[in-house]
Amino acid sequence: MEALIQLMNGFGTALAPMNLAFAAIGVMLGTAVGVLPGIGPALTVALLLPVTFKMDPGGSLIMFAGIYYGGMYGGSTTAILLNTPGEAASVVTALEGNQMARRGRGGPALATAAIGSFVAALIATIGLAFLAPILVKVAVKFGPWDYFGLMLIAFVTVSATFGNSPLRGLTSLALGLWLGLIGIDQLTGQTRLAFGVPNLFDGIEVTTLAVGLFAIGEALHVASRHAYAPEKPMAISGSMWMSRADWARSWKPWLRGAAFGFPIGALPAGGAEIPTFLSYTTERKLSKHPEEFGHGAIEGVAGPEAANNASAAGSLVPLLTLGLPTSATAAVMLAGFQQYNIQPGPLLFATHAPLVWGLIASLFIANVMLLVLNLPLVGLWVQLLKIPLPWLYAGILVFATMGTIAANPSVIELLLLSGFGVLGFLMRRYDYPVAPVIVGLILGPMADNQFRRALQISQGDPMVFLQHPGSAVMIGLATLALVAPFLFRGLARFRQDED
């Protein structure tokens, strides 16, 4: 009940005209970047970090969440009409959705994706509103050892689920952790790995790293490839609306998709890929028309689309309650909180209650906005694909540079940005995931802190991590998760792409 009252207060915050405007900007930007291939919500939020640091924290966080939700909606449009998923979570949607569009049923495919996304995100956001306070009650009892265990789980799952192999993920994570060491060591006061550059004494800015890896790296990657010929999206022929039979075949997959997406998104190993695949295979098994799968079965669009939106809401649970990012976008959003000196975690709900509940309430509003924006305006969004790619990337490049110079006016910072851009390019070339680097940079110093605090309390006895049942279980799970993918090759298919 308390959650309900808080949520009502949150609506008061979210319905303030400024915050409504931020939510609207967020969902529009999010849909746009979801539609555009190669640009995802993580990159967009990263680009916006430096330009929002002077703005009101509530408003910009509402905008970031809108981008996250919007990206999930927008991705389905290109998946269905172009067969090129705008973001990774829509890969499955492309399987059936594009087949439907080829058969003149693009309208109902888009409709079931949009309405399913709406229904699932609604359920998942309700789940977030009620699960978060419960988790907070548990998390306030966490000691530093528990947090350390939790971060170990996050490290392992992030490296195991992003990218093509656990080895590659682990490598990226190690790079990020190493970068996190740069600067003055909090315990000894010694400067580490700064090479005498004063700008590095305070450590590497998360925003510089994120913008460099995501934006500059992607721009270099695109520039390095041969001229890109845009595909022509399929025209939507026939009715836009779903028939009675379409509704009857869609509503159960929506609910099941939400049931997969939310809990898996909320797990530290979450992400949107696994639930969408699970939802797709489940729908194929349960369908009365299994023969239609592969040839445009509406269930194959309804379920996965619901699952990916629900997982976006799910991944906000560990982010807000524990300060743990489980997706690339969540990692960049965490950096967004940090730039306002707000630390997500159980205390967030006590110290910044209006902000958190305003954010959660705004998710409901963003969801309604997205439904309105997406169904009737789908033709407009597809027009975005006509923007020549070099222009798009030149724009991103200018925006990235500008944002960095605005936040931290120094040439060194821009050189770092270029350096991280080259790193991001090389990692894309060599097929290494980028997201674990950012997670490592953010969580590394935090894990280090918790580790040392735990040792201080136990007076240097490392057994403290195994004596507390919570941390012992978590460290055990982390070890298991680290070893399992190497033992069971079959698990390797459970991987997630970035975003």
Binding site: G38, V51, I216, H226, L397, I405, L414, L415, E498
Partner: protein, 174 residues
């Protein structure tokens, strides 16, 4: 993020040494060695427990290990070719960022003093230079695009967001 298949990188390499896996492993190993060297003067252990050099060294060794495993695995599968190194298309992009960095607020570059030129000059310079990276770049189109982007940037960053980035100090004084 989803990438379309890289056409020139999808080819099998001419030799395993040109394969993606082995080059990635070598790069990593070299980087790990560099990291090891960079942290070599930090104390490993102190009488009070962990020294500030413990983690840098541990991570450097982890990176070297990852690199070596990658090299070892490359004998089983050398991966696709890393493709050509499109410096002609990448350098303009980086040069654009660099040019923007030194012109926006001015910079002392050795004997050369660059005055603060502000957004009005730095933005179009960066866009035109990085735009040359595109194979099908047309200068006229690029100029119009640069002009529009510059106006958007000045409006957004200086006036809408109120950030203190100089616009054209040589002309209007801010």
């Amino acid at each position: 993020m989803q990438h379309e298949p890289d056409h020139d990188a999808a080819l099998p390499p001419r030799s395993p040494w040109a394969g993606r896996e082995r080059i990635a492993g070598l790069t990593l190993t070299l980087f790990g060695l560099f990291a090891l060297w960079a942290g070599h003067d930090l104390p490993f252990m102190t009488e009070r427990g962990m020294g500030s050099g413990l983690m840098p060294r541990a991570l450097a060794i982890l990176i070297i290990l990852c690199g070596l495993i990658q090299i070892a695995l490359s004998w089983r599968d050398s991966g696709p070719s890393t493709g050509t190194w499109p410096m002609g298309r990448n350098l303009p992009v980086l040069a654009g960022v660099f040019l923007f960095a030194v012109t926006i607020r001015g910079y002392q570059l050795g004997p050369l003093t660059i005055p603060p030129l502000g957004l009005a000059v730095a933005t179009p310079l960066a866009i035109v230079l990085s735009g040359l990276a595109a194979e099908d770049a047309r200068l006229g189109e690029l100029a119009i695009f640069a002009l529009i982007m510059t106006l958007i940037c000045i409006g957004l960053f200086r006036f809408a967001l109120g950030l203190s980035i100089p616009v054209a100090p040589w002309l209007i004084g801010y």
